[in-house]
């Protein structure tokens, strides 16, 4: 069975779980290219998973093969047999910052947020290549009964809890890429917040892909128990590659009665990456779920964070920013499903297109029969920086109940000559002025981000804007 498996560094499989950092992040175990039942079973075996998880993966694989490609969004030109689906980097988990090898620290530095990294070190989960290599849990969190682990460890250490929810919010047959992730997933975060526990600071994770042609399929599951609160932040940057690369994550969130969860993502993918992510939350009575989602870079992003409001009083809020430049297509949006009375939803979407980039807003609002007195408001604004760029809006609205209020506003604007002149007449260069106008355009979302992410976001926009005027 292992005949085609590349085992590098002469490390034996049995050593995988030891605390043993290597100084180079040379891939340690790399499944061969392509996808089939053998590879999927191998991944499961490498991880030492229980049978139920292996079966889940194999069933998901069948679903993946049977599902057509999504009919919406952008063109996907991928050879599924030309991708690596599993790669394990240097083994082990770091407990303290000192245990983390310099090379990995350097990578964090390159991600540009070393301060945040250090500040919240205790709560950090970082996905390095396919596996979480660094993770340590702040002691007071542990004392409160909070579980913050990479999902692989969670399967081993909290199998009942994981099994109860895993794949229940987003079943494998939801879409082809959810099925693919379910079959080959690796890494991601598992978070459980016990009833009534409120986490004051954001829990953070940084992701990065760094092996050519390697897909990254992290799997995140967050359970916020009754009356609990948490803010989870993930930021991703990726270096450039010469060939296609696939990132396809699944994020499931459960917000129980009266709880609150905010999930913030800033992603800046290299221009050759397909970023096809499924994110969904179930919000129960009086719970609030908020997705804050910033998408930059990538060849194609298809991502529509969803909130299903399952019980009365649930709230769902989605804020999304998309920035597309040359050769990039952001097909981003949101889904709100009102499945109970007195539920409240809001979508605010802002997109910026420049240099021939294309941004689409694709959003669904569904109010089910019986979801009386529900309110939903959608605002999407697009800013187009030049005549080569494009912006589209695809709102899908399905309302099965009379007694509701649903609003939808959309605007498309071009960067205004008067604004540009005004700023320039005060000494700002054209590039500085346009960057400032763009940053102003997304400010309503950026101010929702934790400080260091807001700074990072503005810096990313500045990088994207560089050389855009001339």
């Amino acid at each position: 069975m292992a005949t085609e498996t590349a085992i590098e560094n002469n490390a034996a499989i049995g050593e995988i779980n030891k605390y043993d950092f290597r100084t180079e992040s040379k891939a340690f175990f790399k499944a061969r290219k392509g996808i089939d039942a053998e590879i999927v079973a191998q991944i499961s075996e490498m991880k030492g998973e229980p049978d139920w998880m292996r079966d889940f993966r194999l069933k998901s694989l069948d679903v993946f093969f049977s599902k057509p490609m999504p009919k919406w969004g952008g063109g996907i030109d991928l050879d599924f047999q030309d991708i690596y689906y599993y790669l394990k980097p240097s083994e082990g988990k770091g407990k303290t910052w000192d245990d983390v090898p310099q090379e990995i620290k350097d990578t964090f530095d390159k991600l540009g947020i070393p301060e945040a990294e250090r500040k919240f070190l205790a709560g950090v989960k970082a996905q390095f290549e396919s596996e979480v290599v660094y993770g340590s849990l702040k002691e007071d969190l542990a004392a409160k009964g909070v579980i913050f682990l990479d999902t692989d460890s969670a399967v081993r250490e909290h199998p009942e809890l994981v099994r109860e929810y895993f794949g229940k919010i987003i079943p494998p047959h939801d879409n082809k890429f959810a099925a693919l992730n379910s079959a080959v997933w690796s890494g991601g975060s598992f978070i459980y917040i016990p009833p009534g526990v409120k986490i004051e600071f954001p829990l953070q994770a940084y992701f990065r892909i760094n092996a050519e042609n390697m897909g990254q399929f992290e799997r995140t599951l967050i359970i916020v128990d009754e009356g609990a609160e948490v803010h989870y932040v993930e930021g991703c940057t990726a270096p450039m590659y010469s060939s296609e690369s696939l990132h396809s994550a699944v994020v499931e969130v459960v917000c129980k009665r009266g709880s609150r969860c905010r999930y913030t993502t800033i992603q800046n993918w290299a221009n050759n990456i397909y970023n096809l992510v499924t994110k969904r939350a179930m919000a129960y009575a009086d719970a609030t779920m908020e997705w804050v989602d910033g998408n930059l870079g990538s060849k194609l992003t298809m991502k529509y964070p969803a909130v299903y409001m399952m019980e009365p009083g649930a709230r769902g809020e989605i804020l999304s920013i998309a920035f597309s430049s040359h050769g990039q297509h952001q097909d981003a949006g949101a889904k709100l499903v009102h499945a109970a009375p007195n539920t409240t939803g809001q979508i605010i979407s802002k997109s910026i297109s420049k240099n021939g980039g294309r941004s689409s807003y694709r959003g669904l609002v569904r109010v089910e029969k019986g979801a009386k007195n529900s309110k939903c408001n959608v605002v999407c604004d697009a800013l187009i920086l030049d005549p080569h760029s494009r912006s589209d809006t695809y709102p899908y609205i399905e309302i099965m109940e009379q007694d509701v209020s649903v609003g939808h506003e959309a605007s498309v604007s071009r960067i205004g000559e008067e604004q540009l002149f005004y700023l320039m007449s005060r000494g700002l260069s054209e590039a500085e002025a346009s960057t400032m106008i763009v940053n102003g355009f997304i400010e309503p979302l950026v101010k929702e981000l934790p400080m260091e992410y807001a700074v990072e976001m503005n810096r990313l926009i500045q990088l994207q804007m560089e050389g855009s005027v001339g």
Binding site: F421, G427, E432
Partner: protein, 275 residues
């Protein structure tokens, strides 16, 4: 400091339609000039062209600041060279905080050679200065956190323009109806602030229909614009004549310019009716 702003035979069109028809004006640093004239005569256009608005086509003539050819510069270059205009209708920039905008602007104007991405003036230093200037203008400190001209009342907008004048300390400033839309107290405050900030420290070109601003800033020269030309230049007494008696004498004395002015206005009316 004896800077000179010199405008010679300036002709300007929009979409092939002439608006300025040969403007001559010379201003020295430290002088105050009033620019008056009926609606639609071209006063704002002159200011906007000096400031570098890209929507106007200069068909003839020149603008020089000392020996620098102003028409060769983009708007930002002109600001860095020391030209400032307080706008009659400033643009709003939602999402951009006054303080951030002003810190960038102030840095660039004080360090005209600054490259993009280089350091801005230190936050503390800038904040202190901004705070002092805002106190001087009796502005609520909260104002610095608001978005540039976004949802500002008419009066707030004008005060924000004066604040920028105070921060940027240009060599030459054009104030385009900075006294309009203000209540009586605000006009007095604005006029006194401008006198304090600018009088004798800059060359001031004050465009106004009222007297208060000129009372605090008595002009050495008054220019009357009609039909896109400066038809008469006099002393402070001319300004006084115009806001007390109107433009009948001027129109009668310069019938050709008056006709041009009427035409521009009726074009405007026709376009408005069509739009």
């Amino acid at each position: 400091m004896s800077h000179v702003l010199r405008i010679e035979n300036l002709r300007v069109s929009v979409d092939g339609k002439p608006i300025l028809r040969g403007v001559n004006l010379e201003m020295k640093h430290g002088e105050t000039h009033a620019l008056m004239g009926p609606n639609g005569s071209g006063k704002s256009t002159l200011g906007l062209v000096i400031a570098g608005h890209p929507g106007y086509e200069v068909t003839d003539g020149s603008i020089f600041l000392d020996d620098e050819d102003v028409l060769e510069m983009e708007a930002d270059g002109r600001a860095r060279a020391g030209i400032f205009m307080a706008f009659q209708r400033p643009a709003s920039v939602p999402g951009v905080k006054m303080a951030d905008f002003l810190r960038h602007a102030t840095t660039n104007v004080r360090r005209p050679d600054r490259k993009e991405g280089e350091e801005l003036i230190p936050m503390r230093e800038f904040r202190q200065e901004l705070k002092a200037k805002m106190e001087q203008l009796k502005m609520d400190p909260e104002f610095a956190r608001r978005y540039v001209n976004d949802g500002f009342s008419g009066g707030e907008m004008k005060r924000a323009e004066i604040l920028q004048l105070a921060m940027l300390q240009p060599k030459f400033a054009i104030l385009d109806e900075t006294d309009s839309g203000l209540d009586a107290d605000a006009v007095r405050l604005a006029s006194a602030s401008i006198a304090e900030i600018g009088r004798e420290k800059m060359g001031l070109l004050i465009i106004t229909h009222h007297d208060k601003l000129l009372e605090h800033n008595p002009p050495q020269f008054t220019h009357v614009m009609l039909g896109g030309r400066i038809v008469e230049t006099g002393g402070p007494e001319l300004a006084h004549e115009l806001y007390s008696q109107g433009y009948d004498r001027i129109r009668a004395a310069y019938p050709e310019a008056d006709r041009a002015n009427q035409e521009m206005l009726s074009d405007e009316a026709a376009e408005f009716a069509l739009g």
